[in-house]
Symmetry: C2
Subunit: 231 residues, 2 copies
């Protein structure tokens, strides 16, 4: 009966589970930049052996959330505003400009309904100041479109940069001003998808992502890390 619920979690491997937990801990700031990650310690805390944990660390490293030094362990990385603004966000635009157009003919009624639902979630979250849920719905919206675009590498790249962008906005970015702008803009995106006119869609996509950056303009710190002991 509750088979479905039971399957939900154990279906994912311990490795995936560990990745999600650590990613959440890092993007939320619970594990701050510079924090050292010790395998045996983490494995004990998470109730696994080191094998899946190490694979998880490799994945996080490829996502740019951590960095490891041979025989000397891993540490949590930070992201500078400069790199978010000039590297990660422009990459996001590139991805989405491509993916949204590809997704256009592939979105069915259910997808559009789900997107509309996510916009509603954003509205509620924005009104109630639930920053967490607002960001989650935001990401879910974009990810659904990219998944539907069915472009393998596009999705792979999105998953690679998305955690860092998220980490930046949750940890490092100055809180931005108008939460209601988020659902409003996504409604525009959705409308453009429903209407299905490509040029309009592209215009809205670019506009949308830039907005994230026009608000917090402070020329923040350039927090590059140095290895604990550069050899």
């Amino acid at each position: 009966m509750n088979e479905l619920l039971v399957r939900q979690v154990p279906t994912q491997s311990r490795r995936e589970h560990v990745v999600e937990i650590l990613r959440e801990a890092i993007t939320s700031g619970q594990l701050p930049p510079g924090h050292r990650l010790i395998e045996v310690e983490l494995a004990k805390q998470l109730g696994t052996s080191r094998a899946p944990l190490r694979e998880a660390l490799r994945q996080l490293e490829q996502e740019g959330l951590t960095r490891s030094y041979p025989y000397r362990g891993s540490e949590v990385l930070g992201v500078s505003q400069e790199e978010v603004e000039h590297v990660l966000v422009p990459i996001r635009i590139t991805l989405e400009r491509f993916a949204f157009v590809k997704a256009l003919p592939r979105l069915n009624g259910d997808d559009l309904a789900e997107l509309q639902r996510l916009v509603t979630v954003m509205e509620t979250a924005a009104r109630e100041g639930a920053t967490e849920e607002l960001a989650d719905a935001d990401i879910a919206f974009h990810e659904l479109v990219i998944v539907r675009s069915d472009q393998t590498h596009c999705l792979q790249m999105w998953r690679t940069i998305q955690p860092r962008v998220r980490a930046y906005f949750r940890r490092d970015a100055p809180a931005h001003d108008d939460p209601m702008a988020v659902p409003r803009q996504h409604q525009e995106l959705l409308d453009a998808l429903v209407a299905g006119r490509e040029p309009d869609l592209l215009r809205v996509v670019e506009q949308h992502i830039h907005t994230h950056l026009d608000a917090p303009r402070l020329d923040g710190p350039d927090d590059q890390q140095n290895p604990p002991d550069a050899r």
Copy 2:
């Protein structure tokens, strides 16, 4: 005495070693798209246990070269011309536009000399039709600049996309026309770096990367993979 030579290779972990071998095999086409990767088999061939091999597979997966399905193994992925052209190369431009400017004040005499040496290598390779070495020098040139830019995430992203771009040009792209264009263009890049005028540099960077794509314009096949058994 030959300590240095002996240290050179064993210094890298088996995992890194395995990554390099598999990456080379995949980008060269020796392991073609669709090829199934079986852990015990590879481990035996490479003379390691499965632990480092699995970590290597995780890394290759994050680089978009392979894809894995729970309990059913990994397979080699292909890249469509469309994704290279509209996703990977635009991302490369984004990265390099940022990194070249950052590297500008950080390049010392040795770096510039090394870059010049690489251009010379390209010239020789181009004249002799040594496609392999031409591509290697090309990549080494760009990687050196990005390393010197000292932008963690920029370098990380470069390493993530570079193998796929390389795989595309080695495996899937129609052979392009004029090999001598490669050293010539890199000489231009280098000259712009030496001169140190930012706007010129940016112009040359964009021009450079687009060239790769203007040659083989065939609107090639869209070789997306499907999972062996989509569940």
